[in-house]
């Protein structure tokens, strides 16, 4: 495969991945024999972003915001209802057959649950070697075992354990196996869907360090999806905050964490418990009322308005666009975007 084929129609400065207005609506049906559609769950409802080579984009959001569905869309485990995505200039949703297979080599995924993401009846060697079986052009038959062992070693596992089964490993080690599997085809982008959420605190740090090390060595780009804001900040260059299927705020990590202008982001930041008892009582307390609205029936206008302390009439009538605001240049979807001091020493002055 010549270098020209790999770059396709991509120019030098074009982002590796470009997503535009991606949406996934699931039909809500009723009835067993004759299914009537009674509504749609708008799990992802218009998401756009870019990802550059070697960059980490963190996506934070709470349950039901659609981040997992977004991840599945990007690896084509789901087909979108609308929108498009271009990888190296080629539309990934139009790919079929061999072209799609080729894409798989570049775009891989690490999954959340180390206990169910590995086939319990396959050895670790089989699991990490399966990519080579599916894509034999990447590794000729004789060299596979050696490559699998090299991968195991790379992620910090003992290559001699190649014939062991997943149940013989701990959660953190299984996650490393999942990472080794994702690395096998030398991808350019790895989508990490909550890769450390199911791990113990002391193990999370190990796996996060591993991911960062691999990124530095191999020039990987990550889309890092998580609900833990501290972890996301640590690993991301840019961050997007997701709520009810849309991004409500995006920017470099410093902008989001220090100068958040969207009320939801501010509420999130204020809710994260800080592991320092000294700050008790010094932080701004923003508590949201009520529950997250159902994605089958999102509020009109701004989706966050039902829980927002700033909501005005315009919020119900006009949906705020995700665009740069006066308070700070990073895009924020709020008519009344302004920074707020959440904690001592962070955030600009109010107003």
């Amino acid at each position: 495969m010549a270098a020209s084929e790999r770059t396709g129609t991509m120019r030098a400065d074009e982002p590796l991945l470009r997503v535009e207005n991606l949406a996934k609506h699931f039909p809500l049906t009723r009835g067993v024999l004759f299914r009537r559609q009674v509504g749609t769950v708008k799990a992802v409802d218009g998401v756009s972003f870019t990802l550059a080579r070697g960059e980490t984009l963190g996506i934070v959001g709470e349950s039901g915001c659609g981040k997992s569905t977004l991840a599945r869309l990007l690896v084509r485990l789901e087909e979108p209802t609308a929108g498009a995505a271009w990888f190296e200039g080629r539309n990934i949703f139009e790919m079929r057959g061999p072209e799609l297979r080729r894409l798989r080599r570049d775009l891989q995924m690490v999954m959340q649950d180390p206990y169910t993401s590995l086939n319990p009846r396959m050895t670790v060697g089989d699991i990490v070697g399966e990519p080579f079986e599916i894509h034999p052009e990447v590794a000729p038959k004789g060299s596979r075992r050696a490559r699998v062992q090299a991968l195991l070693e790379r992620v910090g596992l003992n290559p001699e354990h190649i014939s062991r089964y997943p149940h013989q490993f701990s959660g953190g080690q299984r996650q490393r196996i999942g990472i080794a599997r994702a690395l096998a085809l030398n991808p350019k982008v790895i989508i990490c869907d909550e890769p450390v959420s199911a791990l113990d605190v002391s193990i999370q740090a190990q796996v996060i360090n591993l991911l960062e090390e691999l990124q530095a060595d191999l020039g990987l780009a990550y889309i890092f999806i998580a609900h833990d804001l501290s972890v996301v900040r640590h690993i991301s260059d840019r961050v997007a905050v997701m709520y009810l299927g849309r991004f409500v705020e995006t920017g470099v990590e410093e902008a989001i964490y220090e100068r958040a202008t969207h009320p939801y982001t501010q509420a999130l930041l204020s809710a994260v418990p800080v592991p320092d008892p000294k700050v008790r009582g010094t932080r701004r307390v923003i508590r949201l009322e009520g529950d997250v609205p159902s994605p089958a029936d999102p509020p009109s206008g701004c989706r966050f308005r039902t829980r927002c302390w700033k909501a005005q009439e315009i919020c119900a009538l006009e949906e705020p666009a995700l665009m740069p605001r006066d308070a700070d240049p990073h895009p924020s979807a709020c008519h009344f975007a302004e920074t707020l001091e959440i904690a001592e020493g962070s955030g600009a002055q109010e107003g």
């Binding site: 297979r101 086939n119 399966e130």
Partner: protein
């Protein structure tokens, strides 16, 4: 062993004992300690040996041994532990040689059932949608046919020709699969949603690879259990068919012997007792085996 920044585990060649063990290991350990398992397994092995190598058990070949009416209904005695039947044939050798018919019918019918159930259940469970809708209705339809009745009809239709055990085998095999197919279908549906299946898709695995490599091994356990129990049932069916006179022709069979013996039950009980006893023991052995294996594999009972 030191640690790098990436956190190489210190004692990395130590097995993590507290990680959950595999279901098969656990199941095997549990099976090992249950006497029922060993009893049933021993019986099964015995019957299979009997079917395969009847010569090991009986010096007399019941297929060729002469039967003398002078021996009619002679009670058990030296050299003939089970006595003689009405025709004067040695019951012991007939019982031993009768095993073949029953066990072979059981095994082959189960094989056919297993294959058909596997294919249909896998396709229905994996693809879902209209494929599943169509196949599931198919399963329901066949399920509606009483297997014994259906087998009788087929067997009778083909009984004119001397096809040995095959009409019965086919009849049972083609009618017994719906239950097994349903079992497979549910395990496939459950396995289909596992994250490791999604992971395989992300790697670019096609349908066939996913079905064979990822779903099948994880759906096999319940199938094996169902088939083992089914095997026992098929053996009982075969005996019933033979009893009714529509079973395999010109083959020594427990069912045939039972049918014959029950006419003379008031004169002697042993011509009935022994074939019936062996039949019951065999059917029970398979069913018990299936039961105990299913319990061992059921994670909820732990």
């Amino acid at each position: 062993m030191s640690s790098t920044g990436a956190g190489l585990p210190v004692a990395d060649d130590m097995l993590v004992a507290e990680a959950p063990r595999s279901l098969s290991r656990d199941a095997w350990d549990e099976l090992k300690r249950r006497p029922i398992f060993w009893l049933a397994a021993a019986l099964v092995v015995l019957m299979v040996l009997m079917a395969a190598f009847p010569g090991l058990f009986s010096a007399v070949d019941a297929r060729t041994a002469p039967c003398s009416l002078a021996d009619s209904l002679r009670p058990p005695g030296p050299g003939h532990p089970f006595g003689f039947d009405k025709q004067g044939c040695d019951i012991y050798s007939r019982v031993i040689y009768g095993a073949r018919s029953s066990v072979l019918v059981g095994v082959f019918s189960t094989l056919i059932t297993g294959i058909v159930a596997l294919v249909i259940g896998m396709l229905a469970g994996y693809f879902g949608g209209w494929v599943d809708a169509v196949l599931a209705r198919g399963i329901d339809i066949v399920l509606g046919i009483p297997p014994l009745l259906g087998a009788i009809v087929v067997a009778k239709a083909l009984s004119g020709q001397d096809l040995g055990i095959w009409p019965v085998v086919l009849a049972l095999g083609l009618l017994g699969w719906p239950t097994a197919a349903r079992v497979i279908r549910s395990s496939v549906i459950a396995a289909r949603h596992q994250e490791y299946v999604s992971a395989a898709r992300v790697l670019g695995a096609g349908h066939l690879r996913i079905m064979l490599r990822h779903i099948l091994p994880n759906a096999m356990a319940p199938l094996v259990v169902v088939l083992t129990i089914l095997l026992g049932q098929f053996i009982a069916y075969e005996a019933t068919l033979s009893f009714l006179g529509v079973g395999p022709r010109n083959v020594i069979s427990w069912g045939v012997d039972i049918a014959e013996a029950q006419r003379w039950i008031r004169e002697a009980s042993y011509p009935l007792l022994f074939p019936a006893g062996f039949l019951t023991a065999t059917v029970l052995a398979f069913i018990m085996l299936g039961d105990v294996v299913r319990d061992a594999f059921d994670p909820r009972l732990k």
